[in-house]
Subunit: 319 residues, 2 copies
Amino acid sequence: MTNIKDLAKMAGVSVSTVSRVLNNYPFVKEEKRMAVLKAIKDSNYQKNINAVHLSKGKTQMIGVVLPFSDYPYFALLLKGISKQAYKYNYKLLLFQTDYMESREIEALKMLKQKQIDALIICSRTCNWSTIEEHLLFGPIVLCENVNKKLVSTTFVNHYKIFYDALEYLYHKGHQRIGYCIGRKSGASSVKRNSAYRDFINQYNLPDNHDYIFDDCLEIDDGEKVVQYIKKMDTPPTALLVTNDQAAAGILTACQKAKISIPDELAIIGFNNEPISKIMNITTIEIPLEKIGNNLFLQALSGEISNQEIAVNLIERGTV
Amino acid sequence: MTNIKDLAKMAGVSVSTVSRVLNNYPFVKEEKRMAVLKAIKDSNYQKNINAVHLSKGKTQMIGVVLPFSDYPYFALLLKGISKQAYKYNYKLLLFQTDYMESREIEALKMLKQKQIDALIICSRTCNWSTIEEHLLFGPIVLCENVNKKLVSTTFVNHYKIFYDALEYLYHKGHQRIGYCIGRKSGASSVKRNSAYRDFINQYNLPDNHDYIFDDCLEIDDGEKVVQYIKKMDTPPTALLVTNDQAAAGILTACQKAKISIPDELAIIGFNNEPISKIMNITTIEIPLEKIGNNLFLQALSGEISNQEIAVNLIERGTV
């Protein structure tokens, strides 16, 4: 079987040059790179690539578990992860789980089998003990605060952010406050709902289930929220909207429906996406891209660290 | 070594149930699934997962080659691909190549080694012969018209779309027409540039390099285009902007700078993203998500087909 020394001989280059080419490092002269690639081709070397991975214990592949890649929250996280993966020339293996535990377990299994070098879990269904069983097999990085010393995490405090935003609206004079969310089932959604419940209990506010809207993912989803609100006898006077795309859609639909913003309806978006700046939407800046960057770097380094990322309320024209 | 029959015995279920669990098919009773998972755990079965892949010749993994995943054009293609991958429970392996041939070759090599079931190439640097060498090893799907019968493709005619849009602006009375693009180096950028050159030669229009702006990727990039235009003695009177995010940014910056749209500057965006609807931007609808869907389904089926996707000019308020 051809080995790396044979390749170096065939290509007339050093072993370290072959290694650089195999690992796609930059700074190899094109001429030498071509010579190595020719040697690889001539010698049918591809059969050994797995052996190279084994000897290094590296696949240059990092797994990313996320329920759906097209929900803005996860899309922005993934963007941050991808930017770093690109920079370090790592491939990303995407597991879109729809919160099915079997798909999460499949990802963990691939870590166990060394088919990926590390695993980033953006959101999950499986319980901590399932994660714990796999910690020995490679770095696992979580995007949540699990209060464990065994695993790297980068997270925001979804409960506190939601509660603080609700109190902010309350102190601005609002009592009928609702919120719009992507899906009810995610881990952050559960925390947000619990903040909302605690808030209305604390301030003794009406508990109106009609004030909670789900499936608010994109600009186009704003229209249906506004149609619904228009039909209510006592509509909410303020909405927390968990992504700026949907907030922009609600704002536009209100403008069409002659609902005055913020006088008749106050809106707080999330993420400080560029569209919120253009449309002058008050928003809570969760630096998801930065969190994504961090998750990747934690997965890459393998050293355990835990980081809470701060958020900012950016006051603009919709409250 | 434990095999699938042993697992079935240990779990007290049928072989086909074990197979269903291993392949993550739905419709397995949770109780049976747990029994199989326990048997897998108890028997240390993970060593055989690769053997399962081998026996089926399937990894449930499809590779996606794209230069950068965060450029809107590719992000939307990837969104379409991801939606189908999610639906069919396939994992996606992302190769972000920055148009480096070595990274494309790495992807092709993984197809050759059966580490992925199929490969979708959204844009590439390597030449056709490199692709051709790998056609035997599994389905390769391209997002361009290569006029070959050997490979599946889904594509739009970037040259014609750009030329037609330029002529449309010309017939609206514009002679000083520029364009904004993400990066100059991509395959579609080259075709667009060649359409632009042919157009200005055909109509004998001024060949002003200052009318071509690159790095126009996001909303925030609009500002610098407008700053630049403001300083010109003879600014362009119309711009083709190859994504709606940047078009929205230019529109907003013009509103701030008191440049009247469309009287002083006409704008045509691309992709018909929701933001173009909200901001009433004339745009060319390239159904990138649909193209992404199609690319995945072609990769999955493995049958060769070639499809040109039609585009629409959506006339709104910016021309």
